[in-house]
């Protein structure tokens, strides 16, 4: 595992956390999206997981291919911090969204 690799994995992690949050909210707000996930993957949750894994791999490959090691090393700490904040924000959004959906929608 190289520094460039860890940089690419961190970017992929950020994109995946954002994707999981967005697709979770959107799939509940847009029934057609949830239906598509069900029909394509037999279950909407399986679909979200498979797409998240695919996106993670895709972003890893894209970023790894274009990243420069010196820049990767310099940017890693801010990326990890961003991942922390986005995960906290994503988790809060998920809980608040489902509370809203259960009681006010």
């Amino acid at each position: 595992m190289t520094i460039k690799s860890s940089f690419a994995v961190s970017v992929a992690g950020i994109c995946t956390v954002v994707f999981i949050t967005l697709i979770t909210v959107l799939a509940d707000l847009v029934p057609a999206l949830k239906d598509w996930l069900k029909s394509a993957f037999t279950h909407h949750w399986i679909g979200k997981g498979v797409l998240a894994a695919g996106l993670f791999a895709l972003f890893y490959l894209l970023v790894y291919g274009s990243a420069k090691p010196e820049k990767a090393d310099h940017l890693l700490a801010p990326l990890l911090r961003a991942l922390v904040w986005l995960t906290i924000l994503g988790t809060a959004i998920l809980f608040l969204f489902f509370i809203w959906e259960a009681y006010w929608k």
Binding site: I20, F56, L80, L83, T87, F98
Partner: protein, 151 residues
């Protein structure tokens, strides 16, 4: 519930909790100096493997049984929010864990023996690992609430 599904559910919980314990070991290890870097790498690697296995075992149970047999019971009972809020949030927040775990593992392997000389990266990684531990705890406690709502 069949014996196979009971096994999968038990495995999901056991694998997930053990994964959380391993990331607690990594988190505590990152707070120490000097770092026991080989131990941290191996703990993180096993943590990733266990989280992925927990995902697969729990996922099979969830996709094939929970929706048709457990969810209706919870929704018809005195605590319908255990599914509508807790389970819904838990099943999606759970998806974050394996990817966050892979990031932690990747950084530990990339900076093997050099992490102490990179305090900014070490600090950020420590925060991320602590987050994985606490998120794992929240997810586990959510599972306890959901199980309680079924009874």
């Amino acid at each position: 519930m069949t014996d196979f599904l009971k096994f999968l559910l038990t495995a999901h919980i056991f694998l997930g909790v053990t994964g959380i314990i391993l990331f607690y070991v990594v988190w505590m290890g990152l707070l120490k100096s000097p770092l026991a870097e080989r131990k941290l790498r191996l703990s993180a690697l096993w943590g990733v493997i266990l989280f992925v296995l927990s995902w697969l075992t729990g996922g099979y149970y969830y996709a094939t049984y929970y929706g048709k047999a457990v969810k209706p019971v919870i929704k018809a009972g005195p605590f319908p929010w255990a599914h509508s809020v807790i389970m819904e949030a838990k099943e999606h927040a759970f998806l974050y864990l394996s990817f966050l775990a892979i990031v932690i593992c990747a950084v530990l392997y990339a900076y093997r023996e050099n992490l102490e000389s990179r305090p900014e990266i070490k600090t950020a990684l420590t925060w991320l690992t602590g987050l994985v531990f606490f998120l794992g705890i929240i997810i586990t406690l959510s599972g306890v609430v959901i199980s309680g709502a079924v009874r």
